[in-house]
């Protein structure tokens, strides 16, 4: 099973991927097993309301949620370092919905 997080606004499979990582209002977390969606949850991103260190707080939330992969925009420099330190893989897909990004990601993983 893999847990994938997508930075989103309101959240959900049909929401657009949010163009900024640390300041995204929510993360849509999708659990995938054998290429099938097992669970979809939306969590608030504490980074969206913090004065500074938004990227770090966002990554901390993903660590707590035991996330394996983030799919979204290119993270900022602090978030980049934090993701590396936390062993979370980053895949850059933008301009589509969560569902479309997930499908694209899964089909590329199959190859």
């Amino acid at each position: 099973m893999v847990r994938i997080a997508f930075p989103t606004d309101k959240g959900g499979l049909d929401d657009q991927i949010y163009p900024r990582f640390g300041r995204a209002p929510t993360f849509t977390i999708v659990e995938v097993e054998d290429g099938e969606i097992k669970d979809v949850r939306v969590v608030q991103n504490p980074g969206s309301i913090s004065g500074s260190g938004a990227g770090i707080r966002a990554v901390q939330k993903l660590v707590e949620e035991k996330i394996d992969i983030v799919i979204g925009p290119s993270p900022g420099p602090n978030a980049y370092m934090a993701l590396q330190q936390s062993g979370i893989r980053v895949v850059m897909i933008l301009g589509v919905t969560v569902r479309e990004a997930l499908e694209k990601f899964l089909s590329e993983e199959k190859k």
Binding site: S52, G53, V63, N78, M81, G87
Partner: protein, 294 residues
């Protein structure tokens, strides 16, 4: 020590020009301490014609280090960090992002295992130059933030502290532009604010901002309208009346200012009989009436 803060909101209105010349004018009566707390771009020393800042002291700010012998990876430090500068990764010790750390020590006090080692990093430097005018000393304290630093307030505080420790009769704080927390740090516990503005729409806009801040902090304010004669100051004057500003000084837009700038010598010394110098002397005399002594 009587404290005066020279500020104004907008950049380039002549805050440092007024602060430096006022400081020299006041040496006729007092031992003056001038603190250049515009730490991002301090230049009072340039206006005073000083070549070199002296008596350097580092501004040290707390920076945590993790004692991996004591750390249990409980994650409390990351939770209490107000700036989000500590990450608790899944399989490692806490990771500190020095650029984000404000030096507040919450992690140091919050750690249940005393696993935070007190380190520091150098945010910038303060300098002290001793000058002599009118047989009185002008003590100049200058704060300089290191390039790339994101936290200005600790540098402002350190500069102010060094200036407050000098035994003078009057302290003049020369702030940078803006109305943020680094400016309000220089306004705190001050006896009088001198806001320098100019008769332009930008000057008006930022004058309003600074008057609001000053009002919110319950401080008395005098206003200097610099470059008087260009632009339309009527809205400025309306607003100053509305805010009940009791003293307004008009420094005319005058060639003497530019000429003395070129000589690199303060106008009250280079052209003491100029109308510009006269306005600054008027201001200094009104201050003496408030402060007394001298």
């Amino acid at each position: 020590m009587f404290r005066v803060t020279v500020t104004g909101g907008k950049g380039g209105t002549g805050k440092s020009f007024v602060a430096v010349n006022l400081a020299i004018a006041l040496t006729r009566y007092y031992e003056v301490v001038l603190a250049d707390v515009d730490v991002e771009a301090p230049n009072d020393y340039v206006l005073l014609g000083i070549n070199k800042l002296e008596n350097e002291e580092p501004i040290k700010v707390f920076l945590p280090f993790i004692d991996t012998g004591k750390c249990t990876r409980c994650g409390v430090c990351a939770k209490v960090c107000d700036t989000g500068a500590i990450l608790m990764p899944p399989n490692a010790y806490p990771v500190i992002f020095p650029r984000l750390c404000s030096g507040c020590k919450a992690c140091y006090y919050g750690c249940p295992y005393n696993a935070i080692i007190k380190g520091y990093h150098v945010l910038g430097y303060t300098y002290y130059n001793k000058l002599l005018y009118n047989n009185k000393t002008l003590h100049l304290v200058t704060g300089v933030l290191r390039e790339g630093e994101e936290h200005t307030p600790p540098a402002v505080l350190a500069t102010r502290k060094r200036a407050e420790n000098i035994n003078g009769d009057i302290l003049i704080l020369d702030t940078g532009a803006g109305t943020g927390n680094q400016i309000s740090l220089s306004l705190q516990n001050t006896n009088l604010v001198i806001a320098v503005t100019e008769p332009t729409p930008l000057g008006l806009h930022d004058l309003l901002s600074i008057l609001e801040v000053v009002k919110g902090m319950n401080l008395g304010v005098w206003v200097v309208i610099n470059k008087y004669g260009v632009g339309d100051p009527s809205r400025h004057l309306e607003i100053l009346e509305k805010y009940g500003v009791e003293k307004i000084y008009r420094i005319p837009f005058n060639r003497d200012v530019v000429e003395t700038y070129i000589y690199g010598k303060p106008i009250v010394l280079a052209k003491p009989s100029s109308i510009v110098s006269k306005t600054i002397y008027d201001l200094s005399i009104d201050l003496v009436k408030v402060i007394g002594g001298g």
